[in-house]
């Protein structure tokens, strides 16, 4: 119910927000959050059994936020070629995870571990009470990378096996 009301308010207010400077109306979502909420990037899922897919699942329904972030790794280069997410939670949580999927694409796994929740929060101008959403997005990235690395470690044949194949 609250969500419907909030959506309607956002819908009617979004026109107003864009015309006035945002400092005057601190209660409204930043336009980046609204953009990601209305046009979320990379929603979907990959096959989690794919050896090149890392899945990060963080949060808990009881807490109000669950994020699933998946990354597809290129076998040769070890870089992230694609990412997708599914999030259950508030607009800020959805926007944070959407931003996370945008930022990880094309980067190496080591690079994305340096993405900080403060950067996501700054990009979305998250209010203090919503900073936890950005931290959840950072954790989702880390969990996905951890899963991907674990899978890659399993997949890599040991040097002895490789030598045996050659012979």
């Amino acid at each position: 119910m609250l969500r419907l009301v909030a959506n309607r308010l956002l819908g009617t207010a979004s026109g107003v927000v864009l015309k006035r400077p945002l400092q005057v109306l601190p209660r409204f979502y930043h336009e980046n959050v609204i953009d990601h909420y209305n046009n979320p990037r990379n929603v979907g899922s990959f096959d989690k059994n794919d050896p090149n897919v890392g899945t990060g699942l963080v949060g808990a329904p009881a807490c109000g936020d669950v994020m699933k972030l998946q990354i597809k790794i290129d076998e040769e280069s070890g870089k992230i070629v694609d990412a997708c997410f599914k999030t259950f939670g508030c607009g800020s949580a959805i926007a944070s995870s959407s931003v996370a999927t945008e930022w990880v694409k094309g980067k190496s796994m080591d690079e994305v571990l340096t993405i900080k929740n403060t950067e996501i929060a700054k990009h979305l101008s998250l209010p203090p009470v919503k900073l936890h959403c950005s931290m959840l997005a950072e954790d989702a990235i880390k969990a996905a990378v951890k899963d991907a690395e674990a899978k890659r470690a399993k997949m890599k044949p040991s040097p002895i096996e490789k030598a045996a194949d050659v012979l």
Binding site: C63, N117, A121, P128, D139
Partner: protein, 189 residues
């Protein structure tokens, strides 16, 4: 201490065994909580329900510095009543001390507000702190303009709220940050 072991064992059995058999074997209060969690989200799509049953209330900070969801069920570590008692007394105590601090430090836009179990500390242009309870994880969540978001668990040994990732103590963190922001020392212990 001895009474906790059977609970922990039951929790680990629950995690391994199929759901239909375990609810009956659990203590009624624990069983109710699991059912309640599923009931609370009736409109949620199937994959979410699967996620809920596949991992318990996953708090994000692990005992060792890991970066994924934890496998510990925090309900077994601290009972809900105990948690509420501790968290409420910490937050209310902080509220009083911060109000006194506000009288000492003359800061434009200083405001302490407590409503719906959320403590908001406004420091005018210096930023805003928000502190709230996160009951499912037995945590206190803090949002700071300096250190960002942090999640504090109750540490029995230290008798304090500690953020596992940085080992920060809630009260000490607030004291040092407030002193840094307002140039006046404060004692919150």
């Amino acid at each position: 201490m001895a009474s906790r072991l059977p609970i922990l064992r039951r929790i680990s059995i629950l995690l391994k065994a199929p759901p239909s058999t375990t609810l009956r074997s659990l203590r009624p209060s624990l069983a109710r909580r699991f059912l309640l969690r599923k009931v609370l989200a009736p409109n949620v799509s199937p994959w979410i329900c699967a996620a809920a049953s596949s991992f318990c209330s996953g708090p994000l900070n692990l005992p060792q510095d890991s970066q994924g969801p934890a496998a510990i069920d925090y309900r077994s570590v601290l009972s809900e009543d105990e948690y509420h008692r501790l968290a409420n007394s910490t937050i209310q105590d902080l509220q009083e001390k911060l109000e006194e601090f506000g009288d000492i430090v003359e800061l434009e836009g200083f405001d302490v507000d407590y409503g719906n179990e959320v403590l908001t500390l406004k420091l005018g242009t210096l930023g805003t702190y928000v502190m709230n309870k996160q009951t499912p994880n037995r945590q206190i969540w803090l949002s700071s303009p300096i250190s960002g978001p942090s999640r504090f668990d109750w540490d029995h040994n230290a008798q304090a709220w500690v953020y596992r990732r940085t080992k920060a103590n809630l009260l000490k963190l607030l004291e040092s940050e407030l002193e840094q922001l307002c140039n006046k020392p404060v004692n919150l212990s």
